[in-house]
């Protein structure tokens, strides 16, 4: 449990770095979300946009438990385990979807 908590704290502390490094993907996700307004339903658009953002933000943890986006590790030539990367992508995608839903609800509530 302590290990899990430690990873949560590390990820929270490093979230600004993850978001910063994932900014190009986040920007692309926003563009895709807007561009597909006429072609996809709201849920599908959101799922697609979150998937693109997750590609840029999903962390890969090194031997020191240090997180960096998976794509950064790949660009640096650092080893990335496929299973761990897939798990991280899915978890990040779900987290972003949840966050987007919560933000959407909050916006609706505010009118």
């Amino acid at each position: 449990m302590q290990t899990f908590n430690m990873y949560v704290v590390i990820t929270a502390l490093m979230s600004a770095v993850l978001i910063g490094l994932g900014a190009p993907f986040i920007a692309m996700a926003v563009l895709v979300y807007r561009a597909t307004a006429a072609r996809l339903t709201g849920t599908r658009r959101l799922a697609l946009a979150c998937a693109i953002a997750a590609l840029g933000v999903a962390p890969s943890y090194d031997a020191y438990a240090g997180p960096l986006p998976i794509y950064v590790r790949l660009l640096r030539g650092e080893p990335v385990t496929f299973a761990a990367a897939a798990l991280s992508l899915i978890a990040t995608w779900i987290a972003l979807l949840t966050l987007a839903h919560l933000v959407g609800r909050w916006r609706l509530a505010r009118g």
Binding site: Q2, N5, M6, V9, I10, L13, M14, V17, Y61, D62, A63, Y64, A65, G66, P67, L68, E78
Partner: protein, 593 residues
């Protein structure tokens, strides 16, 4: 070998087999060291007390002759050691005030493995083939930071994964490397340390000064003892700050009596404020981590407690300690010096600060040093809080996970690391060295205005002033000695003498003899100590008798000794497996030692 003995009537003490009381001499061993009929010059003849707690050593002269008077008696061991020869060892009964003759005929070491094993750590490092000069520089700076690499303990063949595990542990102790450096260093070590003998032709120049010298070593503590620094008290005792065990050691070098005084407990876990680091940090099993010490005019020692962020005072007359809180965001109280007004100054290595403590008012003032760039500012601002958060996860090394030295690949350059400090005797200004960023700086003691200077050689470590106001600086990373003229603000550099062209030295500390003006400087990769004569710009190299000798602050004793602590980390890596106090008496044959 010829052995003869003329025991005196005071043979009773010999039966005791222990160090004698103050001022007494044990016995004398003398003789000649030869090989194939020719004298062996500079051979180290060492006598070991029966309890192995004290070792005395002299060097054979140009004719191979030596004379070693020891202040212990009884069953002693005598060892003669010279480069490229086999050690010769004898045991003998040495009654008090007896004179024994021991001649040695040394035989050349012909076994390649044994010959290789007898070489200094620096020789074994020549087996490493570095992919980039920057990687070698990172290795020298960070992997020799507290200990030799290349000695018997650290050159054991391992595969790269095993080296990675070792390096990761070292990073948990605050070695600062990028992931690329870790990859390259571990690959190099795995390839280079293959267990095969190295063949390095080391040159050991003979100097007639050696024949006058004597080395005394007093073994202290256990295999985990880490006497970071030693100081000579006004009472002539050697005091040592044992960072491993939260102990101040007190050695009377004349009687050999050794006392230990434990620092008071504090409301901190093991590792102190660094409890989130890989623990124990090296061999630091305590909470305070006493690091450096200096004696004030009133007799009290001030001791920097690196792990607990406190300054301790210790009164040798009452054995009483008192703790002064520095503040737990002010990290790693390091080197301490006291100025002419009795003000205590010390560096805070991990938070890029210098502290000023006034013992009269007990007021602590923290002086922030210049950041020197964005990433270093990030370190200075964030690190205290990172280690606080890391302490919620004890011993996990969490700080590495969020460190920009890693994810932003900044490496050691992101840490200023103010290290050595000293007081200019001319104007009272305070000068410090920043080890990782190759700077020295001056603090005005009244206004706290700061000026910094880039050093021409890398790794300025523990600097000291001479009486003329010249600042002498050991360049750890570049194996050099620097002199900074504070009036003209100019540097002069001197490369330390090497045993072989492709070896290197990592000078940690130095001191300037108050009477002769000579600069004494540690070597640390070749088990030597250097004596530099500024007027002739020449070095004398004194080989030291114990392999894996890693010296820290150098201090001068009233009896002529140039003293330090032998504190390779861990102590069990030192030949014999234990730390020691060590004093070199350059003129022992004409003095009392």
């Amino acid at each position: 070998m010829k052995l003869g003995s003329r025991p005196s009537i005071l043979g009773l003490a010999a039966i005791l087999g222990t160090a004698l009381s103050s001022g007494a001499t044990g016995g004398t061993v003398s003789g000649r060291v030869t090989s194939d009929g020719k004298p062996v010059t500079g051979a180290m003849v060492s006598a070991f007390a029966a309890d192995n707690k004290q070792h005395d050593t002299v060097y054979s002269d140009a004719d191979g002759r030596y004379r070693l008077t020891v202040d212990f008696a009884g069953k002693i061991k005598v060892r003669t050691r010279a480069p490229y020869f086999k050690d010769a060892v004898n045991e003998l009964d040495l009654p008090v005030e007896a004179v024994s003759t021991l001649d040695y005929q040394l035989t050349k070491q012909t076994d390649a493995a044994a010959l290789s094993d007898s070489l200094t750590a620096s020789a074994h490092l020549t087996a490493l083939s570095w992919p980039l000069p920057e990687t070698r520089a990172a290795f020298i700076s960070q992997c020799n930071y507290c200990h030799q690499v290349g000695n018997e303990l650290t050159r054991v063949p391992r595969d790269q994964d095993a080296w990675k595990e070792t390096v990761r542990r070292m990073e948990g102790y605050l070695a600062i490397l990028t992931n690329r450096e870790v990859e390259d260093i571990t690959k190099t070590l795995a390839t280079g340390f293959d267990g095969k003998p190295v063949a390095v032709a080391e040159q050991h120049p003979w100097n007639s000064e050696l024949a006058k010298a004597k080395v005394k070593e007093w073994v202290v503590g256990d295999g985990m003892t880490f006497i970071h620094d030693a100081d000579v008290g006004e009472d002539g005792h050697l005091y040592g700050a044992d960072e491993g065990h939260d102990i101040i050691w007190d050695l009377d070098p004349h009687s050999g009596r050794l006392e230990e005084h434990r620092l008071p407990d504090i409301d901190l876990p093991e590792g102190g404020v660094f409890s989130g680091f890989q623990l124990p940090i090296g061999v630091f099993t305590g909470k305070h981590g006493p690091h450096s010490l200096a004696q004030a005019k009133d007799g009290r020692f001030y001791i920097t407690d690196a792990l607990s962020s406190t300054l301790a005072s210790y009164d040798p007359s009452t054995k009483a300690f008192k703790l002064y809180d520095v503040g737990r965001t002010h990290l790693y109280p390091h080197t301490v010096r006291i100025d002419g007004d009795g003000i205590v100054w010390f560096t805070l290595a991990a938070s890029n600060e210098v502290a000023r403590f006034d013992p009269k008012t007990e007021k602590m003032t923290i002086i922030s040093l210049p950041h020197g760039g964005f990433w270093r500012a990030v370190t200075d601002l964030a690190f205290p809080y990172v280690i606080k958060i890391a302490s919620f996860f004890p011993q996990r090394g969490m700080h590495l996970a969020v460190s920009h030295t890693k994810w932003a690949e900044q490496g050691r350059d992101a840490f200023n690391l103010p290290y050595g400090i000293d007081v200019n005797p001319i104007d009272g200004s305070i000068w410090y060295a920043k080890l990782n960023v190759n700077k020295i700086g001056r603090i005005d003691p009244k206004t706290y205005a700061i000026r910094e200077f880039d050093t021409p050689q890398k790794g300025p470590r523990r600097l000291r002033f001479d009486k003329q106001g010249n600042l002498w600086i050991p360049a750890f990373d570049d194996g050099a000695l620097m002199k900074f003229d504070t009036r003209t603000e100019t540097f002069e550099s001197f490369k330390l003498p090497l045993l072989a062209a492709n070896e290197y030295e990592v000078p940690y500390a130095l001191n300037i003899h108050p009477e002769t003006g000579e600069v004494w400087i540690t070597s640390n990769m070749t088990d030597r100590i250097f004596r530099f004569q500024p007027s002739t710009k020449t070095f004398v190299s004194y080989p030291l008798p114990t392999r894996v000798t890693w010296l820290r602050d150098l201090v001068f004793a009233k009896d002529g000794g140039v003293c330090s602590s032998s504190s390779n980390l861990p102590a069990y890596g030192i030949e014999g497996g234990l730390a020691s106090f060590i004093c070199l008496y350059p003129d022992s044959q004409t003095g009392t030692n």
